[in-house]
Assembly symmetry: C2
Homo-oligomer: 323 residues x 2
Amino acid sequence: MRDVLAVGNALVDVVADVDDAWLAANDVMKGVMTLVDEARAEALYARVGPAVEVSGGSAANTAAGLASLGGKAGFVGKVRDDQLGKIFRHDLTAQGVQFNTSAAKTGPATGRCLSVVTPDAQRSMNTFLGACENLTDEDIKDGEISQYRMVYLEGYPFDLPKPREALAKTMTLAKSHGVQVALTLSDSWLIARHTPLFRDYLMMGIDVLFANEQELMTLFPAADVQKAVASARRHARLVVCTQSEKGAIVSAAEETLHSPAERVSHVVDTTGAGDMFAAGFLFGLCQNMPLPKAARVGHLCAGHIIQHHGARPKMALSALLAV
Amino acid sequence: MRDVLAVGNALVDVVADVDDAWLAANDVMKGVMTLVDEARAEALYARVGPAVEVSGGSAANTAAGLASLGGKAGFVGKVRDDQLGKIFRHDLTAQGVQFNTSAAKTGPATGRCLSVVTPDAQRSMNTFLGACENLTDEDIKDGEISQYRMVYLEGYPFDLPKPREALAKTMTLAKSHGVQVALTLSDSWLIARHTPLFRDYLMMGIDVLFANEQELMTLFPAADVQKAVASARRHARLVVCTQSEKGAIVSAAEETLHSPAERVSHVVDTTGAGDMFAAGFLFGLCQNMPLPKAARVGHLCAGHIIQHHGARPKMALSALLAV
């Protein structure tokens, strides 16, 4: 039995340092993911300094983190048969993630996310989805999903018609095989764009729901985050609400607990913190760890990733488990 | 008057961590640059873990360093009109380097250097030259060279027939305009492959010769490095022999001095140390600094670059000058 099959957008991150004045001058909203077309992507890229390219994508990062912890992870997502697509495929498979989705032979180039990092370590993402738009339900294979204990869906593909269908098929097939379904809400603006769709998914029943405070309060408007968590719990067996340096709330039928974050002396870049938390937490669940321990593994992984640029692990995360 | 026009191979570095066992298992020679064909490049890439892509190329790194110090730098080198070629062009121009060489529309892809870094911070480079082979003497423009105080040639293009002609034309035009000529020997195995060619260049008269100890002793076999420096001085007005953590020997008609290296507490990756030393030293010369001060700027720049992965500066090097 394999552990987690992640489904999401296949993106290469283009990481550059900027300051707050740059964000203002270029109308980039801080801390969120904004979709951009190719022209805007090129224009923004032309205005940043030297950059570094590193494979990314939210669910793909989580798959990479899981594999780095020693879990059996897979990924489904669409690149093109171009140089960035080859880089994305290499980095994922070299990490030990199974990635069987074929590359598109026509259509837009591999998707890129221009991730600009400000001195406060916040990342603001400008995503040109490119080839991601060509993920279809034909890429979702019954025989692949049935090998896994769990599927993990990111919300970002909701922005694209065909990938949205692919997510729906993943959910349907997973339920038909008794494979658990985990979902991350991904981004508060994304939720605002697709609130009914997110509600539909939750109505079908989610096993594990990941969200940060802002995302959860967008989908479940409430006076405080505890109330939003309680609302979410009506649709999800397990709700995990991450709260940056404050830690995370983990709420299940039997208990609701608060798990403190890992203390980090120097935060460099928060890109991938949520993705790595999910990797550690899901790894813990697959290992049948009790919830507080699974959350602790999540925090350890998130604590590692925010101490360097980029959203993929720079060491075997399994080494964190020995502590 | 502009400062330095650098001519060399246009490469994107693919940086990955490996251990010594990996080098042995894959027949990669430590600490040097080995040329590989596309098949070997692909095979080695398939065997490394997740990597990071960052623009490189020896002379291009020096141009980037010079621009980062506030100098007016240019670069001549050949990429293809592909994704990696666009990344290379962006990173150089975003650093403020003038890069007017057109991209090849046909032929091999943009060159890549798989730079594997061992825990001792040594880098071993496996270069697939790709589009670099299509730099020709038509890319060397009289009107461009005459704008500069100095041209800076790396030795690597000696491995390719057409780029070798391009270097020869650069040297000839520079001399006809009274533009100074700086040359770096680049790599001891390269020198072994092309000893007569390097000797020919030196016979034409070089203004500034850069080499590390091993490179200098390969071209000028001698009992000790001081004797090799003295031999080199017969052909070069100024000889700069870098000696890693021991510093550098700077030898001119009026004086020969030893300049100590910058103390660095934690060396991460020595890639680009020589390139950044050259950037700092040449910047100093262009600013008419006395030789010890120019060498000191070189050491400060090299000390910065070895504290992170990759060969391009991660901050404005001009900030180092304030110290």
